[in-house]
């Protein structure tokens, strides 16, 4: 699906003065943010910096959390969690099309599984999949809904290093083909640089650094800037 020109000019996600707090602790402190349609944005931050809270707010999952501010997001939003969150009592294909109506739902589900490299595993139980395969199925479940915005909360955090590299390629490919706006929460600086066009560093509930990534550039510069923003100093041997 080619990006619509009108979509490009209008932000997909728009936050104005977004504040969220748990008890006395203010986790998000008046965040202003525009994510243009079709942009791949990564959210970096220490644990407790509020990146997951931000993601959950955009996903509309923060029931009962105190807060204020304006928040607009597209109609069709998909979420990929750290765990695949496949229902163990439904076969893979049934998991992918869960909640979809329409006669062609299963055909679209099969196509989505094919696209993430799980063609032929439609009838498998989630318990029979490896961690990487389960996360591929979760990606298929998100894709089949043709999201305008894809939210991902450390989707590769539980995978081994080799599987993670493969998944990075897959996600980038899928994004190029379908062009949803992506908001990826991660604590992995390298993952953010490899995947995203723009990296935000959250710090104490605010955006501390907003960095645009040019993929033609050497990555080392971005890496040290992001690490510095996260308060990590690296000895260069």
């Amino acid at each position: 699906m080619a990006p619509h020109t009108e979509q490009l000019t209008r932000p997909a996600v728009r936050l104005r003065g977004l504040t969220r707090s748990f008890g006395d602790r203010t986790v998000l402190d008046g965040i202003d943010l525009d994510v243009p349609a079709g942009q791949f944005t990564a959210l970096l931050g220490h644990s407790g910096s509020g990146k997951s809270t931000l993601l959950r707010a955009v996903a509309g999952l923060d029931h009962g959390v105190a807060g204020s501010g304006q928040l607009t997001a597209p109609e069709r939003v998909s979420v990929v969690f750290q765990d695949s969150r496949l229902l163990p009592w439904r076969r893979v294909l049934d998991n992918v099309v869960l909640g979809l109506d329409g006669k062609d739902a299963y055909d679209r589900g099969r196509a989505a599984l094919e696209e993430v490299g799980l063609g032929g595993r439609e009838r498998a139980w989630p318990g029979e999949l490896s961690g990487g395969e389960a996360q591929r199925a979760a990606l298929a479940r998100s894709l089949v809904r043709e999201p305008e915005l894809l939210l991902a909360d450390e989707p590769f955090g539980a995978l081994d290093a080799l599987t993670r590299i493969k998944m990075h390629h897959l996600l980038r490919e899928l994004w190029k083909r379908h062009r949803p706006s992506v908001l990826l929460v991660t604590h992995d600086v390298d993952e953010a640089i490899v995947l995203a066009d723009r990296v935000l560093v959250l710090e104490k509930g605010r955006v501390g650094l907003d960095l645009t990534i040019d993929h033609e550039h050497p990555r080392g510069g971005y890496r040290s800037r992001l690490l510095a923003a996260l308060g990590v100093t690296e000895d260069v041997a």
Partner: protein, 282 residues
Amino acid sequence: MTAVTTATTGTAPVAAEESHRVRPRRRLSPGRRLPAARLAGPLVFLAAWAIASAAGQLDPNAIPAPWTVLDTAVRLWTAGTLRTDILTSVERAGYGFAIGLTAGVLLALASGLTRTGEALIDGTVQINRAIPTLGLIPLFILWLGIGETFKIAIIAIVVYIPIYLNTHAALAAIDSRYVELAEVLGLSRLQFIRQIVIPGALPGFFVGLRLGVTGSWLGLVVLEQINATSGLGYMMFQAQNYGRSDIILVGLLIYGVFGLVSDTVVRVIERRVLSWRRTLSS
């Protein structure tokens, strides 16, 4: 590191040690299952009974021989009385079980899915559970008369409690991450119940179901011995008056077979419905 290893393996004692074959570890699990394992115990018992009877070691008035019991069963069956008694008993257990099953599931769903339901139902059921159901018999006879209704009501209560408790516990234990998933996918309430709540609660439901099935037979035995004018329990009660221990044994045997068969049926259904679980345990 590598240099050190090669140096030591070069010496004679270590090389000799390396040529030792790997000895299998002592096995601590019980090992392979015996053929027809579940039938072996009852068959040994039956054989001992038959041998003791044949040797004249058992008082035939207290414990008649197996063939006497079998003979009595055949005679009662051909005379038609046994058939009627079995039918009456099965009917009672069946009605009570069906009502208890429905009530248990509906109450568990209402209590597990809504806060109002939880507030109204859960505490009430817990109190009901604390009262021994068989202690309700005198009251129920006063209310419902000594006919069929009170027996079915008691069996229904015996059945609904374990089904409610286990189903409700399973509902409460459904992973909140799946609830979140349902919200993200925009499932309707009905889809949520069908796709997540019911399959997620099924393992607990089956535990309750097996307890309930056993409970229905247990309740039946007691009811038919105390306040019945027909049924297997009545048959056994009459036999006691005439000193016919063979008829009593026929009744016990039939109760046992019924319990075993219904438990097996539930187990087979469970294995079929929860087939996805086998992939986890393997």
